[in-house]
């Protein structure tokens, strides 16, 4: 490999590594968002289950 070829390879490698690192960071971010979304869905389900099991507050009725 000539020195010119080495420099060209280095330049193109730098660009591809940078794009790859960017994409890996975005992938990690999407994974984190996916985890958070699952947590929030679980939280919403728990809240719904709690509301269904708890008796609804009774309305005051007039007697007599």
């Amino acid at each position: 490999m000539s020195s010119g070829e080495k420099y060209v390879a280095a330049a193109y490698l730098v660009v591809f590594v940078a794009v790859l690192v960017y994409l890996v960071i975005m992938q990690l971010k999407l994974q984190r968002l996916q985890r958070e979304l699952a947590e929030l869905a679980e939280l919403a389900q728990e809240r719904r289950a709690r509301e269904e099991h708890e008796p609804a507050p009774r309305e005051a009725a007039e007697v007599g």
């Binding site: 020195s3 420099y7 280095a10 330049a11 660009v15 794009v19 960017y22 929030l40």
Partner: protein
Amino acid sequence: MLAATLVCAAIALIFFWVPEDADQGFSQKIFYFHVPIAVTAYACFGWGAFKAFMHLWKRPPEADLQSYVAIHLGVIFGALTLVTGSIWAKASWGVWWTWSSQQLVLFLVLFLFYSAYFMLRFSVDPGPARANVSAVYALFGLVLIPVSFLAIRLAEDFIHPTVFTPAGPQMADSMFLTFCVALAAMLALASALYRLELTGKRLDATMKRLREALE
């Protein structure tokens, strides 16, 4: 998908089709990525400044975020311009950097100016004040873009080559076609990364609101 196709096409043209430069030889192939990356960096900074202007003028809800993402990408492409340019300089001139080239120095100034944007942005609490300060700063940088772009034409710089002159591109048709494909590839790549990052940021913001509502 379009970006990936164009990048593959550009690489195929660069390494299997376009002839070697008679003067610089094989190392001239850095040109096909270096210049399109630099133009893409200018485009990102320009788009960021345009969105900043829109934020200050009409205040659409997402303009500040769009300006931030564009400048973020501009800084990434700017860093790649400096690195690939430095490698090309070493191959062609025998030095990694030269302070005597106004084109290089002005691009470095532009890069550092927009790098400082993040320091300013994150030193202000989130809210309208941060968005306004960031927008004004992004607009100031707009002045540097044409200065940096035209520096080589305004100054008598004999180190950095001038390929695009008022008489047209100073290269063979096959080289110009390859350059155009590489430029389209870089612009498509930047556009894809812009949309990806913007979607991530939007999702992040929506998730935050959802968490606040549920907790």
